[in-house]
């Protein structure tokens, strides 16, 4: 990962979020509060706009910009969770860590903030699978899809979906799906 890739990553992620905004909201309707699409769309539009205006020159500057925009523009639960992830990544980058370790710190920060464990049917399930794959140098689009899909049969134990209990079974977790988009676009940005 470098600054050019990072900017491309955010542009691609924004495109996917805008394209899939309605689908994210649809996923969030039966088991959540129908705001995930709107919130992510608003947040990522701000991230991309801030990149254009502030023209970050280092990966660290970029991660900082993503953090502040997600924290101040998204709201709901996804704002602090994604914001905490990028804040952790920024700190690990400052410490000179490798990309796998940077992503892992992002994951740790999400768990610190949201207190979710593997199997709770949240974005954490996707992050754990991805971090492990990146550590082993074997992250693929298929692996991401499988991790997202794997949230479907689970019963939610954290987040708003936990209120509906058994009725959360059979639905993909919206946060897991948006995290899937994040990592699909990361792979695409790295490959370009």
């Amino acid at each position: 990962m470098n600054i050019e890739m990072g900017i491309r990553w955010m542009e691609l992620f924004n495109e996917e979020i805008q394209n899939e905004k309605d689908y994210l909201t649809q996923l969030d309707t039966p088991i959540g509060d129908s705001d995930h699409g709107n919130n992510m769309s608003r947040g990522m539009a701000h991230v991309v706009k801030a990149i254009e205006e502030q023209k970050p020159e280092t990966l660290n500057e970029l991660l900082k910009l993503i953090t502040t925009n997600l924290l101040s523009k998204v709201g709901g639960a996804s704002g602090p969770l994604y914001g905490s992830a990028f804040m952790g990544m920024m700190k690990a980058e400052t410490a000179g860590e490798e990309w796998a370790k940077i992503l892992k710190t992002g994951l740790e920060n999400i768990q610190m903030r949201g207190k979710a464990e593997q199997g709770d049917k949240t974005m954490v399930d996707v992050w754990i699978a991805v971090v492990e794959a990146v550590e082993n140098g074997e992250l693929t689009h298929e692996l991401i899809d499988e991790a997202v899909e794997a949230t479907k049969p689970l019963k939610a134990k954290k987040g708003r979906a936990s209120y509906v209990g058994d009725r959360s079974i059979g639905h993909i977790d919206p946060g897991a799906y948006s995290s899937g988009l994040l990592f699909h676009t990361m792979l695409r940005a790295e490959a370009q």
């Binding site: 129908s34 709201g75 709901g76 996804s78 704002g79 914001g83 949201g114 954290k158 936990s162 009725r167």
Partner: protein
């Protein structure tokens, strides 16, 4: 598309805040460029009570900003928690040097955003403490879920803590009071219709013309049971039974109640319901020492009601509820 009076759904919260401030300039003002409503009342070196959350629950929380209740309220997007930077700003403008006490409804988004704001404020040297309100008994509480939701009982928390702050209690005393208050307060609701967020084309859930749902949340979250519409008496019977099961047996039979309209139910129906609540409480040998009936914590245009019972374990609760305040909607 459901009919709503608005200009652009993207600006609905913004325009609502301006509308409130223009209508009540003697009570409240907006912190420029934010979703924060602050009271105009002079700072007196007391603890500030601050609350907030997603919009769409009006008059909660901005309608309860004023002398004797909230110092400030933070309005997020519709049904979406406000962000940490906004909450931090509210803490800063409300602080009178004695610390700021946050009243947070139990939703994962609210908890995370308020916690982050609390950490940021403490880094800036402001003393902050908080309580999480989780009065909705419709949702099963267990170690493995987020727990119960915060709903209409939050208004009693604003009132009682606001009074304690006005009386000059310290932030530690207010924390203790809040911790005694929450376990004594339970709420459960019912809906006659679903709810549609501004800009959406369809409601969050649909009920048939003759159906109701017990235990719904204030964001269109599903409840615990659906059945055919009953008479007011039978509705009260169901909700009261459900609530009383949650209180441990105890010789104290004194309660304060809230009959809260969820947005689309007329006051006439609320008072019919309140009449049945009073009668059935009396039949159960329970005494109502204080009643609040009205539209307090809503879910946009949802037709329905919630019933809150607060057991008056501490005489201070009743004294606080009866005190006069200067807000738009108490």
């Amino acid at each position: 598309m459901i009919k709503k009076i608005l200009n652009n759904p993207d600006y609905i919260v913004d325009e609502m805040i301006d509308g409130m401030v223009l209508s009540h300039p003697e009570l409240i003002k907006r912190v420029p460029e934010t979703g924060i409503i602050q009271r105009t009342y002079d700072k007196k070196g007391k603890v500030a009570i601050v609350s907030g959350g997603g919009s769409g629950h009006e008059p909660a929380h901005a309608g309860f900003v004023g002398a004797g209740m909230l110092s400030a309220a933070v309005c997020g997007a519709v049904f979406t928690s406000p962000t940490p930077d906004q909450i931090l700003e509210a803490i800063k403008v409300a602080d009178e040097g004695k610390g700021v006490f946050l009243v947070i409804k139990n939703y994962s988004g609210d908890i995370m955003n308020f916690e982050m704001a609390q950490e940021l404020a403490e880094m800036e040297g402001i003393k902050v403490d908080s309580i999480v309100v989780d009065d909705d008994i419709a949702v099963e509480d267990s170690l493995y879920t987020q727990g119960k939701r915060g709903v209409a009982g939050t208004i009693f928390v604003h009132k009682i803590l606001g009074y304690a702050a006005e009386k000059g209690q310290s932030i530690e005393e207010i924390k203790e009071l809040a911790e005694n208050l929450i376990p004594n307060m339970k709420t459960v609701g019912l809906a006659l219709t679903g709810v549609t967020t501004p800009g959406s084309s369809k409601p969050s859930f649909a009920l048939a013309d003759d159906e109701i749902e017990y235990g719904v949340g204030i964001h269109g979250e599903p409840g615990y049971r659906r059945e055919k519409l009953q008479t007011s008496k039978d509705l009260v019977d169901e909700l009261l039974k459900k609530l009383l099961e949650e209180f441990e047996a105890n010789s104290n039979n004194r309660f304060a109640i809230i009959v809260n309209g969820l947005g689309g139910t007329p006051l006439m129906e609320q008072y019919v319901f309140a009449n049945d609540v009073h009668k059935q409480m009396k039949d159960n040998k329970l005494e109502i020492k204080f009643s609040k009936v009205g539209i307090l914590m809503t879910s946009l245009e949802m037709q329905g009601l919630s019933l809150t019972l607060l057991r008056l374990e501490d005489d201070f609760f009743l004294e606080a509820l009866k005190a006069t305040v200067d807000t738009i909607n108490w």
